[in-house]
Symmetry: C2
Subunit: 418 residues, 2 copies
């Protein structure tokens, strides 16, 4: 829409020192494009009907009528962060495990003493829907203040068909109660239930859970933890193909602790993303690049678990894999900040700051199928945006420890003010 036609808008964000549009259409960025922030200097952003109407040099939009104005002089405007991978819904916490992990105790030791994922499953099963909504809502409030306006959310801490459906219903309820846009993923196959059998559990998920998930439109994706001691490629394939028959798109927790052919399976099934990828094979990475399947990298997880290795982000970018980021918010890696995920991606994993910002916005949107709606500031997209109290985007991964986001807007409305 030209400025002439757009004679008025609801909100004009004026005189930003920099606007990061991330604009280029709804395609994941890869290779050198992973650095392209779509920077416009001295710019304003016009918003109408909750959507971006136009981003242009401030002088061009000066005459535009606006019901309301926000002065962003000297500040930076960017799209709201998209968190491409969270396990938001759970009860309890495992804070005490940090001291044990730091003292060198193994995950197996900790699990034997009643810690680890099965302790979270126990606490989550015991919690009511209202309790789970309450706990997750507090986390979402903090995530929003830190700039996350869209988040993928997985089930996965009930490990029964009924329980997993309940967790997806909690996500639906959360969507009604707060502004962060949630994209639900069915991860019934997060682990084998205690005393259970992996094959039998996959059968149960296919026969008892998937039909209810599909019928209730409770999830957009089906994910699986493909890993030694969890589910193998045959089981994962069987579940994900069944999910596809029910109309769900698929994702894979791939090659996190061992090389299991996760990247290859993601490509084989046309997955929306392959996540983790610390141990992915060279062939797998080249396949992801060829098919432009986003890799969702989660640097908070090895960090919070004191692991030395990280996904080889530089090689992925070099191959042309579109790299996205997620917080992996979970009881095992409780990170609520996408900016911390970006900083870890830069300082521990080797992405450039510009690549990290692309990974946390448009590429994350692509990884969760939301690229038509969010992840960049382009006409027609949701006006989900952040006003950061910094002179230049370079400060986002530079000023550490404090939250630089002054204002968070969702659908053109201010939803958090720091």
């Amino acid at each position: 829409m030209s400025p002439a036609k757009a004679a008025s808008c609801d909100l004009l964000i004026t005189n930003a020192a920099e606007v990061l549009t991330l604009s280029r259409g709804a395609l994941p960025r890869c290779g050198e494009d992973q650095q392209d922030l779509g920077l416009v200097r001295n710019a304003s952003v016009a918003i109408k009907g909750g959507k971006v109407l136009q981003v242009a040099p401030a002088a061009k939009l000066k005459g535009l009528k606006a019901k309301r104005r926000i002065d962003a002089e000297g500040m930076v405007v960017l799209p709201g962060f998209v968190d491409a991978h969270t396990h938001l819904v759970f009860a309890g916490h495992r804070a005490r495990e940090v001291e044990l992990k730091a003292a060198g105790r193994s995950y197996q030791d900790i699990a034997r003493d009643g810690g680890g994922i099965l302790s979270t499953v126990e606490a989550t099963r015991a919690a009511s829907k209202a309790e789970l909504v309450g706990l997750a809502r507090e986390r979402l409030g903090r995530m929003l203040a830190l700039g996350t306006t869209t988040a993928e959310v997985k089930s996965g801490y009930a490990l029964t068909p009924d329980g997993e459906v309940k967790l997806l219903e909690v996500i639906r309820e959360l969507q009604r109660k707060q502004p962060v846009m949630l994209v639900p993923t069915f991860l019934g196959a997060h682990a084998v239930p205690e005393g259970g059998d992996a094959d039998a559990y996959i059968n149960q998920l296919i026969e008892e859970a998937l039909p209810r998930v599909a019928k209730g439109d409770l999830a957009r994706f089906c994910d699986v933890f493909l890993e030694q001691g969890y589910f193998d490629a045959t089981q994962a394939r069987r579940l994900l193909k069944a999910a596809q028959r029910h109309g769900l798109r698929v994702k894979v927790h791939a090659d996190e602790f061992s090389r299991c052919g996760g990247a290859e399976l993601a490509v084989e099934l046309g997955a929306a993303s392959a996540d983790h990828l610390l141990k992915a094979s060279d062939r797998g990475l080249r396949e992801l690049a060829r098919t432009k399947t986003p890799a969702v990298l989660l640097p908070s997880t090895p960090w919070a678990n004191l692991l030395k290795g990280y996904a080889d982000a530089r090689q992925m970018v070099g191959y042309g894999v579109p790299v996205a980021l997620g917080s992996d918010l979970s009881p095992g890696a409780w990170n609520e900040s996408m900016l911390l995920a970006c900083q870890l991606a830069v300082y521990n994993m080797g992405l450039l700051p510009s690549e990290a910002i692309v990974a946390a916005t448009i590429n994350a949107a692509c990884a969760i199928g939301m690229e038509q709606e969010v992840g960049s500031l382009e006409p027609g997209k949701r006006a989900d945006l952040l006003i950061a109290d910094v002179e230049t985007w370079h400060e986002l991964c530079y000023r550490l420890g404090s939250n630089p986001i002054a204002l968070v807007l969702k659908d053109g409305k201010v939803v958090a003010e720091n």
Copy 2:
């Protein structure tokens, strides 16, 4: 003082799930004591005249008369963080260097293109006192909200006698304008001025700067950057001994990039602390342990500079060196959060979470000569404390990315509320 005698107080912080007293008298903690948080469960904190009157189980203090009460039920109370090492006062920023560093450009390359410390010196020299006060005050406001109630602050970005005195005057002015307690350090010998000679500059600092610093009571410590390309041990010793003759205590930027005998010099001169220590010799560390000289470790700095190595904190604790932490807030590592410093100390450097909290409170206080006043919650000490919205202290290094501090008190008064 017994509860019977202390019949009333100004403020009673009631029913905290945990109070970390860090109490044990004013000595640095080392070895196994570095883990000792002085934990009291279900406790209240009585405050009178801006000082801690008593910490005791909530039931014991229930009957105490109080002018005001703060309900800390289910939360954690701990001493305000003490940041043992900052370069708070400077103009400009070097945010653009992150992209360059991440792309593999060397510090030398960046300096040649007009970046690095000398660009900060140029910007700082050009700034007025009022500008420098304004910039530093914004940073202090964020640090306070993140829980820092005491901070050491170094001069060092003017590199002339006049300029360095001006920076110390800025610190004094800052103390009048905001609540974080500042401990000023004269670091005229932060680098050799461009085109200058190290020996001649040391002479100048001794003859022209130190007398003014001492006469004006502008600094409590004198520090020096002992490092290849900066100042050697002979120059450092000469400056620090002159400072001692003027009544200042001394500190050393020791063994950061190369093994320069920094730890040994710190011990030789009875320094208040030896800082950085990435390359310290085994003999140097054993000497620090023998003399109980605190090591101030700064994990933000290698992190923000994409360096792989960290100080060997585990070995230091093993030898019995008291380990303290600082943010090293500076244009080269802009970290405003002591909690992030703690998390980096745990996840990148190998401290236990309990050891990190000790390092960020009582041991940091010892490293800056403030152990009689702050760093623990004991009768008679300043009531500088944090109320964290967490169930247990274990969450402090576990919940990442958001600020868990709900309330910050300085001298018994609420100075920040998140």
